[in-house]
């Protein structure tokens, strides 16, 4: 059975290798100092998608990302690894979105794609670490969702069986299709870029990128549809202007603090329930936990 697989992905600043200049003085991220990368858990999701594609000949894997026009870089990266193509949802009006506005916008784009069998994405992005967008998209589309997926074990007869990685162990669940699956970092690593695919797709470009290409390359891209990365606007996906970008984002950032972790003091507790309970209460009281 051939599947239409959608992979949700995000281009993120590489927060794993943060240097001294990662934050600006005003507490915002210094994007220029951090390379933009393919969100790591989205790569885990892509690998699951590519395995489904291999197991179901004739399937297609389409990347969907929201961001600046340059987010087409991760679509190309996905194509080098096995995806068929992708869409960048990009529009000034989408800027400043919190998870609610983001999931609404992406859900609108997924509706526009239509005819999807399964939607995969990483558990969370390393810049926000919310893990909300995948589940919210599922809600907005009225689809079942499977989170913390570690492996798609089986997909047949309209159902997908997924192994979930939970804090205390693993759980195997079965969901009807279509559904949204968010994939955990503990899932199989994504396959590398493939040499032949890199040579085949290296000229793939979005309309924005194409504008600055030499005529010779433009001609190639025009001739070969598989090299055309789509760019969709908010209007194209019929997004309600009130629900996208800043207007659609109830989250308001009050302040950003640059937190420097320092181990200041340590306290030794005995193996005593009362002492531990007191510590927990203290931590709740000073908002360290809870």
């Amino acid at each position: 059975m051939s599947l239409n697989i959608v992979v949700l992905a995000k281009q993120v600043p590489d927060t794993r290798n943060v240097g001294k200049d990662a934050m600006k003085e005003d507490g915002t991220i210094n994007r220029a100092a951090l390379p933009a990368i393919f969100n790591p858990e989205d790569l885990n999701a892509l690998e699951q998608a590519l395995r489904l594609k291999e197991a179901n000949p004739g399937s297609t894997v389409t990347l969907l990302t929201m961001g600046l026009p340059r987010a087409s870089e991760i679509i190309r990266e996905a194509m080098f690894r096995g995806a068929d193509g992708g869409i960048v949802l990009t529009d000034r009006s989408l800027g400043g979105a919190d998870t609610l506005a983001t999931s609404y916008s992406l859900a609108q784009a997924v509706k526009k794609i239509g005819n999807y069998d399964i939607i995969l994405g990483g558990r969370q992005a390393i810049d926000g670490d919310t893990a909300q967008v995948g589940p919210q998209i599922a809600e907005k589309l009225g689809l079942p969702q499977v989170t913390y997926a570690e492996e798609i074990l089986d997909l047949k007869d309209g159902f997908v069986t997924v192994k979930r990685r939970l804090e205390s162990g693993v759980e195997t669940v079965k969901s009807p299709l279509p559904c949204v699956v968010t994939v955990n970092g503990s899932a199989a690593e994504c396959r590398p870029r493939n040499a032949m695919r890199v040579m085949k797709y290296k000229f793939a470009a979005s309309p924005t990128e194409m504008a600055s290409k030499p005529d010779e390359i433009k001609a190639i891209i025009e001739k070969r549809p598989e090299l055309q990365i789509s760019e969709w606007s908010a209007a194209y996906v019929d997004a309600d202007p009130e629900q996208i970008g800043l207007p659609g984002s109830p989250t308001k950032v009050k302040a950003i603090e640059n937190v420097v972790f320092t181990a200041k003091e340590s306290r030794r507790l005995t193996d005593n329930d009362e002492e531990i309970e007191n510590l927990v209460k203290e931590l709740i009281a000073n908002h360290t936990i809870g």
């Binding site: 590398p192 032949m196 040579m199 290296k202 070969r224």
Partner: protein, 568 residues
């Protein structure tokens, strides 16, 4: 994560050599494949960009997983179960990664599923893989054997086997036997023709790298009653047919991840590759030339690793209140280490370009007849490749051993412990000057190019290159070294005494090698300032080496060879 291609700008420098323009143009037949294949380049820049991008994948995989896995591969190693080899788990992971990245069959033509890369970028990939895990370079690098099938097998065999290699099946070359090592003429493995024209193989092979591969090239005696090389033919054995078991694998000093097998052939079905009787004299010679270039690349990869480990340690380690790199005794070692690395790499890519040039012409000659000019050029490059291959294999492998030794020396006591990678590098280096022909055998192959003047012609060619004024002194030194070399050659050649000539051969070959490599580094420095210091240091080193050998030859009475002979 490290990328072993992008973190090493020297590689790009060599990839962008001016001769590449011609190599790529010929290899791509003026870019006509672009009509048929969506991954074929449309022009030179496109092709070079593709090599660059693919090498970036190689660098990423090598700098990440393969380098990380090297230690566990070294500890776990492969094993044999029921006649089959089971790779170390991380070796299997490395292979899967290379397959998925499509890095198998890189130099094979597109119509057979390959990437149609020239030898030069392919060899560069080998250089990078070896830096990450020297033993793994063997398993990956045995894709070279496909070249022999491509050159000598019939079309049907090419169609059946080469696409499998491109998809990631591994290969081996089954040549050595218990009594046939350096002397392959003594190969005994018996090939018997069946009434239906197929062949069966019976006998034993030993020291076979990756001996449980999917597709084997086997050297066997097809002509009953013969005893020399002319009775040997080349066969293809397909593991799917069964008939060859692994009796044991060797417990080796280094490259532990690469299984070295003893194979038992019991009526194993096989097919003839090429013509009967040409197995050793033509096909193995071609196979060996390719393999030797591969070992030269492996050696350069080892040198790169040794240099980086040594440099990092020397910067980090403090004694007497400062980093040890600040002491002349240490920085001299490091500078020479780097100079030998750069010298052998310069010769590696010079050789690979020569090989590219003549092999591409040979391939074109299968499609159309070459023009007289093309034929002349093919012959020229073929001869230079023939001269430089044993030189770079011989000296490159010796240098990587010296570099691995110095790398440990710079680490001091810590280097002797298992805690640092340098001890593995040292063990892995050791085989490079032994297999695919020992250094002593490379000298045997190289010496005729001393006596016939191929090396001198090459040197004269380099002498004509313009150099920047500030590098002129290096050029002048080289002119003087060349005169010394010519004098030494004349001295040795004047004596027609077999033992004496053989006795002096390595000295003469090394003198030629030092001068050639020093010229190549001078050219590199002329094109790219980052090579100036290596060009200078190597020039000083070469000067001393040439003088040392010349002096030995000058002070030597041919009769003195007898002093070295074992007592009767």
């Amino acid at each position: 994560m490290a990328n072993f291609y992008t973190d090493n700008p020297d590689l790009k420098h060599h990839l962008n050599h001016p001769l590449m323009q011609k190599i790529v143009e010929l290899k791509e037949r003026n870019y006509t494949d672009a009509e048929k294949y969506d991954y074929a380049p449309m022009n030179f820049d496109d092709a070079m960009d593709s090599y660059d991008k693919v090498l970036e994948i190689v660098g990423e995989i090598c700098g990440g997983k393969i380098a990380d896995n090297a230690e566990s591969v070294d500890h776990e190693g492969p094993r044999v179960e029921n006649g089959r080899v089971i790779y170390a788990s991380a070796t299997q992971e490395n292979l899967d990664l290379c397959r998925k990245a499509g890095l198998m069959g890189m130099a094979m033509p597109r119509r057979l599923g390959g990437l149609n890369f020239p030898i030069t970028p392919y060899i560069m990939a080998a250089d990078i893989v070896s830096r990450a895990d020297t033993g793994f370079e063997n398993l990956w690098g045995l894709q070279d054997c496909a070249e022999t099938i491509y050159e000598f097998a019939d079309e049907d065999q090419k169609q059946r086997y080469i696409p499998r290699v491109c998809k990631g099946e591994t290969m081996s070359m089954d040549l050595t036997e218990p009594d046939a090592g350096s002397d392959l003429q003594s190969v005994m493995l018996k090939a018997t023709e069946q009434p239906d024209g197929t062949w069966r193989l019976n006998g034993v092979k030993r020291f076979i790298t990756n001996g449980d591969s999917d597709i084997h090239l086997v050297l066997a005696r097809s002509e009953d009653g013969t005893k020399d090389g002319r009775g040997l033919s080349m066969f293809i054995y397909d593991k799917r047919n069964g008939g060859v078991d692994v009796r044991r694998i060797e417990n080796k000093m280094g490259i532990k991840g690469s299984p070295t097998c003893e194979l038992v052939y019991k009526n194993a079905p096989a097919e003839l590759c090429g013509q009967r009787r040409l197995g050793l004299i033509k096909y193995v010679m071609a196979l060996m030339n390719g393999a030797r270039l591969g070992i030269a690349a492996q050696s350069v990869g080892v040198s790169e690793r040794a240099y980086r480990e040594a440099l990092a340690y020397a910067k980090d380690r403090k004694q007497f209140g400062k980093a040890i790199i600040e002491f002349p005794a240490v920085y001299e070692m490091l500078a020479i280490l780097k100079a030998k690395l750069d010298a052998s790499r310069a010769l590696l890519y010079e050789t690979s370009r020569f090989v590219d040039m003549y092999k591409i012409y040979e391939d074109i000659a299968k499609e159309r007849s070459l023009t007289p000019d093309e034929r002349k050029e093919m012959k020229k490059y073929s001869k230079m490749a023939d001269a430089c291959t044993p030189l770079v294999k011989g000296m490159g492998s010796e240098y990587c051993n010296q570099n691995a030794y110095d790398c440990i020396q710079i680490h001091g006591g810590s280097g002797f412990m298992k805690d640092y990678a340098c001890e593995r590098v040292y063990r892995d280096a050791r085989i490079t000057s032994i297999y695919e022909g020992t250094t002593q055998l490379q000298v045997v192959a190289a010496i005729r190019h001393v006596t016939t003047g191929t090396y001198l012609d090459l040197i004269r060619g380099y002498q004509d290159n313009e150099v920047k004024p500030e590098l002129k002194w290096l050029h002048d030194n080289l002119v003087a070294m060349t005169a010394t070399y010519e004098e030494a050659v004349a001295t040795v050649s004047a004596v027609k005494e077999g033992d004496y000539n053989d006795f002096m051969a390595r000295r003469l070959v090394e003198m030629a090698g030092c001068i050639i490599m020093s010229y190549l580094l001078l050219n590199d420095a002329n094109r790219n300032e980052s090579f100036i210091s290596s060009a200078e240091v190597y020039n000083k080193y070469a000067q001393a080496e040439v003088a040392k050998h010349a002096d030995f030859i000058k002070q030597f009475n041919p009769e003195q060879v007898s002093m070295y002979k074992p007592a009767e």
